[in-house]
Symmetry: C2
């Protein structure tokens, strides 16, 4: 196993999504899927997840072609997790129409011996008890990141806080950070979250980009903000956050230490990778994103945020 291998536990799903630009029925989706597609551009990835008997073999082949390790992907009796949602012209808000957990309802992650040795771990947005169960199986993870959502913040706060004590990085969106920190002011919310365990908090802000809060050695908070790329066409924002996490973690997996310079560059790589995801339904656009196109957009992002002071 390569030393930059990533493990992701989360959903591999079928998504039915409607946006002003069209519709897809039961297309490949899920947090572990988007994460793997994104991260596999740069590093080996291994999935822990479950699908049902209805899961199309074409999807398995597509994942396999990207060298994504599926040895931890359980095929259970029953149907695959199915999410149905709609986005209106304001693409910042997903309207969930249906959530059919199916085989995901009784998912108990089982890691292979090799998976337990993987150094980089991403606990995608699932029940914090499952996130903890995976973490307890890991032998010596070097860096652990997690995502969560309002449902767990409201209904499993105790379990969530237990999980937070065991991770290095938390990635959530703006509203989730405020809910978890119980504070509308994002700086104050971030201070509270950083006192719960993680030393790095990455707040995803949709079309406004990403703000990262990190504790330095003096317990002071360092802040980094990257804008998102301004795209001509946003077709479907589903999976942007998990794609971001994939690019971000794959960048960190190339390093032995994670100083601010590395973390900032990782935020920008995640931002660029996510910019491809939203240009198509499912993984359609993301799957075509190559290193050349990514490097080009990294240049665009750099130009967008660079400035120097002139004297006034």
């Amino acid at each position: 196993m390569k030393e930059n291998t990533l493990l992701v536990v989360g959903s591999v799903a079928l998504d039915t999504v409607q946006t002003p630009f069209g519709k897809r029925k039961k297309a490949l989706g899920g947090s572990a899927t988007y994460f793997s597609y994104a991260a596999s551009i740069f590093a080996p990835v291994s999935i822990v997840a479950v699908v049902g008997k209805d899961f199309p073999s074409a999807h398995l082949e597509a994942l396999g072609k990207r060298k994504i390790d599926l040895s931890g992907l359980e095929r259970a009796h029953g149907k695959t997790f199915h999410w149905e949602g709609r986005y209106d012209y304001d693409m910042n808000t997903a309207h969930t129409l249906k959530t059919e957990l199916n085989v995901f309802a009784h998912f108990k992650p089982r890691l292979t011996g090799a998976q337990k040795e993987i150094p980089f771990v991403f606990l995608a947005n699932i029940d914090p008890d499952i996130q903890m169960a995976v973490l307890e199986e890991m032998k010596k993870p070097r860096l652990v990141a997690a995502d969560t959502m309002n449902y767990w913040i409201e209904n499993k706060r105790k379990e969530l806080k237990k999980m937070l004590r065991c991770i290095d990085i938390l990635l959530v969106n703006d509203a989730e950070a405020r809910a978890l920190g119980e504070e509308i002011n994002l700086l104050k919310a971030s201070r509270r979250i950083l006192s719960m365990g993680p030393r790095i908090l990455v707040v995803k802000q949709g079309e406004y980009g990403v703000t990262m809060f990190s504790s330095n050695s003096n317990r002071r908070i360092e802040i980094f903000s990257s804008p998102a790329l301004r795209l001509e066409t946003v077709v479907d924002p589903t999976g942007a956050g998990d794609s971001f996490a994939g690019g971000f973690m794959a960048c960190l997996a190339r390093k032995r230490e994670w100083d601010l310079r590395t973390l900032r560059s990782a935020v920008c790589l995640g931002t660029v990778v996510a910019s491809f995801t939203v240009e198509g339904f499912s993984v359609e656009a993301l799957s075509r994103a190559g290193k050349g196109a990514i490097a080009q957009r990294m240049n665009v992002l750099r130009k967008m945020s660079r400035w120097e002071e002139i004297k006034w």
Copy 2:
């Protein structure tokens, strides 16, 4: 008259504002006030506006102490423009409770001979007919910027578009840019707005910062995004946009040409000046902001947005 003098036409008002942090009754407010307070830190400012007989002389003295030229401030019979509003915990949205135009309802701007010679002009958010009337009085403005709002976009689109043909820079917020461009995608909206006249569009995005769109010589759009500073306490966001405009325009007034480097630095200076405004009611915090504190926050802002790529 100094060659970096700024003229602003807009409101000098009394504001009654309630936020989760307290309340102020009939405190000094108005777009021309915030603009002048901000810009006067760096450059001479001259106001074109109207107040009523009830306008406290203490406010006039405070403006005068900042060397803000009040020769174009009319004192009319009647009451001063009065705005009453409320902000809840989500400080991004102002809820207007009352708008009493009073003397502002029949305001006809009259410029002094000296004011007509001023090279830098800011047309704050007022009736586009009044904006145009001021512009037609100006002898040879070197740079003209304007603000507007949804009310004029919806109800005076024709007059607004006439004004837009005569200005260099438009400053609006996110929702206004989308409404004016009749397009939810901000990049597409910006392209439409830039085809209406201004060659620079500055989109204010509240706590997410500012994005500037500008046409280059090849008619391609250059984008610059600056985050806002993350503040421990936001007391009252009223006036942030006009304070931004004051810092932004004062920075440009120091230059003879406005290349991207200058424009970007001006956006950042505006961002920093606005960060003081929101830390207090009315102009309470802004009035205490000195060049030293501003320089310090410019450094914070630079650190927040700087990154360099590491190889992945």
